[in-house]
Assembly symmetry: none
Amino acid sequence: MKAYIITIGNELLIGDIVNTNASWIGTTLTQSGIQVEKVVTVGDNQTDITESLEEALSRSELTIMTGGLGPTHDDITKKAVADYFGSTLIKHEPTLEHIQKIFEKRGLPFTKSNYGQAMVPDNAEVLFNKWGTAPGMLFRKNGNIVVVLPGVPHEMKALILDKLLPKVKETERGQGIYKVHYFQLAGIGESTLSDEVIGDIGDMFNGRMSMAYLPHIWGITLRISCYADTEDEADKALEPVKEHIRKTASEYIYSESADVGLSSVIGTLLRSKQATLSTAESCTGGLLSGRITDVPGSSDYFKGTVVAYDNEVKKAVLGVSKASLEQHGAVSKEVAIEMARGVARQLGTDYALSTTGIAGPDGGTPEKPVGTIWIGYWSKKQELAIKLNLTKDRMINRDQTVVIALDLLRRRLNGIETLPYNLKPEFL
Amino acid sequence: MKAYIITIGNELLIGDIVNTNASWIGTTLTQSGIQVEKVVTVGDNQTDITESLEEALSRSELTIMTGGLGPTHDDITKKAVADYFGSTLIKHEPTLEHIQKIFEKRGLPFTKSNYGQAMVPDNAEVLFNKWGTAPGMLFRKNGNIVVVLPGVPHEMKALILDKLLPKVKETERGQGIYKVHYFQLAGIGESTLSDEVIGDIGDMFNGRMSMAYLPHIWGITLRISCYADTEDEADKALEPVKEHIRKTASEYIYSESADVGLSSVIGTLLRSKQATLSTAESCTGGLLSGRITDVPGSSDYFKGTVVAYDNEVKKAVLGVSKASLEQHGAVSKEVAIEMARGVARQLGTDYALSTTGIAGPDGGTPEKPVGTIWIGYWSKKQELAIKLNLTKDRMINRDQTVVIALDLLRRRLNGIETLPYNLKPEFL
């Protein structure tokens, strides 16, 4: 099955918003064995919307349109599509009730343009949107499907996963399968991983298989994929590659699922040990703790955090010694370890992580330039710190520190000897 | 001048890469007064590339193509364009020397496919790419410009800024300017803002002006824009609209710049009062603190945070009373206020914010369903709490709580009486 994506909105054309919807849809359809042929972005303009829809119908069995379904005047996607399919707009009672309830619950007044959101084309199948106020709409024409969805990412995603894909699978006529497997890795650079760890494994690939290195802020996602006639054929082709990667890159792999992140892996490890965690943060300002608590149920093992942005707080709450602060400065091995130790004692946890550093853009010195960051680790058995020399960019430095701290903990919990990026541990 | 963007690459279609090139080009062209009409993404497929190029030439004076210029077999953009323009490929000496030097410097062997990168269409103007190995190419047809650029972001950006835009400006025949103004608003829904606060102001717009509501996690960005012959004409057209918005929506506007966010506005307000801030977080787990410290120099006014994920920490570190926890539960007005009060005392700050709630997906009860969240506020003059009834989605609940807490503080610091979403303050 071939698909065509039309994303609508002036804000996309002028670059106010990055088109993450298109990439998410691309990934999701590809994983379902649907081939995305073309992505088009047009403004809130009826002629452009209609022309794109016509082209889409001429070359693809599935057309996904997103955006321009909001309650305000500049949103005209529904009108354009209704005109194209010769529809009359009628009231959709379940949607109206649903929207009214949302407004009631939030204590907001219900206005005329909200009422308009419950109007749907009479010849469309309504995809009820329990996550928001604009319903999805599905049209069928000569066996092809056209679906119109809101541009709000979580609503669009839920409607595709819960409503659209099951319908598409009903419609589809056995076109073979596409299988994909993910490895998520941390604590290593892309070229070292590909050149020195995994090596050239081109021989292991037949013409219908491929592998991609996708570096991102959480590390590297390695995607290996295969088109095949049967599930079994795909598994047989992929297995030797998976084995090779598991064998060569074992210490770096934290997950073999695209949905299971580093925080969730750490949660599973802590839970299995019935151990608890706390953090003491300076340069990351709460982001490390924020990522740890992204995971539902993290209160089972995570006790809390002290963000000590101020040296007084480091002393008063965490018990960092005046001597260490004066002799070595706040950005030092000594303070990093004392922060971790202090928060573990204060909150009574089995493990603790700390961060202290110069995130930038200002505050650097010749000895401690911007990007100098210490991560501290404390457990009953061991306390240590590692020193990072990162970039001049505040956001990158903070995010990178969070990932490396989490990877450090993952390795310790897993009994892996080495540290992220082969950094050397430093002790008091 | 109208522009059409064609981004090329299978990795874009299958969503392995987010199309940040398209948004960057959109922003850059818009700022130069060039109107982006359409963005198309196709795979590494000659027919699709050629068809898109034909459509682009039929409707725009400027076509920008990026991607598919690498040395590997799957990159076919150069061949497609050369075929379309009936070109012969010839060697470009400066590029060849440049590439050879790069390889020499890196100690890498120079292969046949690298040599191919120095071959350019004989009827193209070469845009020398000192930042990488694939040169840009510029074609002219019937007064229109088609430019072909590598997809590597920093190379593409440098070629557009340094090489393309100066040439476009030469070519342009005085097509006037584009002016844009942003308002950033928080604490109000999109439809209430448009229907009841700002109202229908269609009469204030001439045919070359437009307004868009862009809702996002930080609130709503309102963009008003205008094409005009002169700067002065644009200002005159936009001024009455700006005045109207400032008059009607004043309490919601936190910034009139696309780059200045809520955290940074709060930082400016605190700095001007020489006041300090701390936070005590439960359900947001450090994200509120993380956002506050996104701002460089935030250590001037931000002292720190206690993330009290555990009730023991709420009692021991923040001094929340056992009685309140037992009688009202951790998710209550009483605990929210005691958390804010406790962290202000513990860290010695002038202001404090707190969060406690059920972020989900589990943990709800009939009286306190998932999405029930309290925000506490403390200053020397006043302590209060507000209750939110949010969604079933953990991520949305946490992010929304952060934004509402920051907006609450902004309003208090600015002396604005009302609270976000017109919520009622609750006191002890």
